[in-house]
């Protein structure tokens, strides 16, 4: 008896079984989506906001005792979290919009205002305060069509433990406690200027490149950030066991929690000029409610900056080449 004989009993799974199992896994996600709130458009706006709250709730830090703050949240990594849209619906039904998840008193110290159009990357750099990078590679027929700069935002929210408890009760999260030290503390959020560069093809938008310094969030000192992160993950809809394990495993000092869109068809990690990033492909909803055009998005960070490239109708290779050609 040799290795050939020992290997001889291997068989490929039957195509019918492989297809059946694959369909079953897809159905698992489809069931999650069918339970979602039907108002997807409104929910989408909330997802963005909840992502922000997830950031608020889940950022850790280094002690900065002089300000009794934990300075935190510089984006290095991104981690996907499947969003339970029904949770978002419950929040909206209770009129618990995201800033008020953790406190009613919010103060906008610096209002970014509407985006301002500029005429050149140099002008954008001057307005944003950092060296703006532009892609050297442009897919066939694609051309730059506009640049906007959004100003810095700075806001503070006074945390309210009772409010967060109310949110948790609304969502049926009864097994977790609001961390001590949160109540009355100031959550400080700074979002540096954002440069948004639009690229068209044939008169329609083909891609948008977004770049900004990493946002920074500070929480009051002494808070159990892992516990707070776990609450944030539960608010996003993760099951208890997953939320606990995930909260324990994640590096909260450098990881941005972002929601996984229900229409994500594929995503994977990529390397963009030596920096880890992610690529996601998703179908945009069509006007008739069906499956619309495929959109690609790349998200990566490098040297304290966060970059995003969203493209419609560009191939993965073209998107990647554009991203890698930034200079």
């Amino acid at each position: 008896m040799d290795d050939t004989q020992l290997n001889s009993l291997r068989r490929d799974p039957s195509p019918a079984f492989a297809a059946r199992l694959r369909a079953s896994l897809r159905e698992h996600d489809a069931l999650r989506r069918r339970s979602a709130w039907p108002g997807m458009k409104a929910a989408a706006a909330s997802l963005v906001a909840v992502a922000g709250i997830a950031g608020l709730l889940s950022v850790p830090a280094v002690r900065a005792s002089a300000q009794s703050f934990l300075a935190l949240f510089r984006v290095v990594n991104f981690v996907a979290v499947p969003v339970d849209e029904s949770r978002i619906a419950m929040l909206e039904a209770e009129k618990l919009d995201p800033p008020h998840l953790i406190g009613e008193q919010m103060q906008m110290l610096e209002d970014p205002g509407p985006p301002t159009a500029v005429v050149s990357p140099e002008q954008a750099a001057s307005a944003a305060g950092f060296a703006v990078r532009v892609p050297a590679y442009m897919p066939t027929g694609v051309y730059p069509s506009g640049i906007e700069v959004k100003g810095q935002a700075h806001l503070q929210v006074t945390a309210d433990g009772d409010r967060l408890r109310q949110v948790m009760d609304t969502l049926g999260i009864s097994d977790l406690e609001v961390p001590d030290g949160l109540d009355g503390g100031i959550v400080d959020v700074r979002i540096p200027p954002i440069v948004m560069m639009r690229y068209d093809r044939g008169g329609a938008i083909a891609a948008q490149l977004v770049q900004a310094r990493s946002p920074a969030v500070s929480l009051p000192g002494g808070i159990d950030l892992r516990a707070l992160g776990e609450i944030g993950l539960r608010i996003l809809g993760l099951p208890p066991v997953e939320a606990r394990e995930f909260a324990a495993a994640i590096d909260w000092q450098s990881t941005l929690i972002v929601p996984l869109p229900a229409n994500a068809s594929s995503f994977k990690q990529v390397d963009i000029s030596g920096h880890p990033g992610v690529f996601i492909q998703r179908a945009r909803p069509a006007q008739n409610g069906g499956r619309g055009p495929i959109a690609n998005a790349l998200l990566w960070s490098a040297n304290g900056m966060v970059f995003g490239l969203e493209a419609t109708g560009l191939s993965y290779d073209d998107s990647l080449r554009m991203a890698e050609s930034l200079q």
Binding site: L25, A49, F78, V79, V258
Partner: protein, 176 residues
Amino acid sequence: MPLEHAMPGRLARWVSAAEPDWDAVYADELPRIYNFFRYRFGVTADAEDLTARTFEKAWRGRFRYRRDLAAFSTWLFSIARNVAADHLRARRPFVTLDEAAAVTAAGTPEEQAIRNSDGERLAALLQQLPDRERELLAMKYGAGQTNRAIATATGLSESNVGTIVHRAVQTLRERW
């Protein structure tokens, strides 16, 4: 002002993932997991059922996978081994591997007959091995894992894995 107006909304909507490319994972790992169960338990129906259970558990728990701790195949195999252990505890009756071979073997009737004949003998011999040896042979020959990967998955030393596999193969040869 709502936060969604202050946060870089497009960035927030984009996703990341410390997650594998599931299409590629499925294509690569399905045959390995399936054959691990075939060698381990020998029943096509069970192998499919156990493979499905493994992938469903992995899919539900994919957010627990940490790329920095283990290769994805290692993580998936740890789930498969747990599924196998649960299956053993359930003490379900086994059917021998030759039945599986008979169901799925391809080729001419003559080729199939020869293959089934060897399959019957090998299946019978596998069933006689101690459980630990059968598991390691399933990992090595069913799933095509290296001794190092088996050592990582089982907690045994690589040399120990080699010794056990060698001993098991020797036993099979002697009884062949």
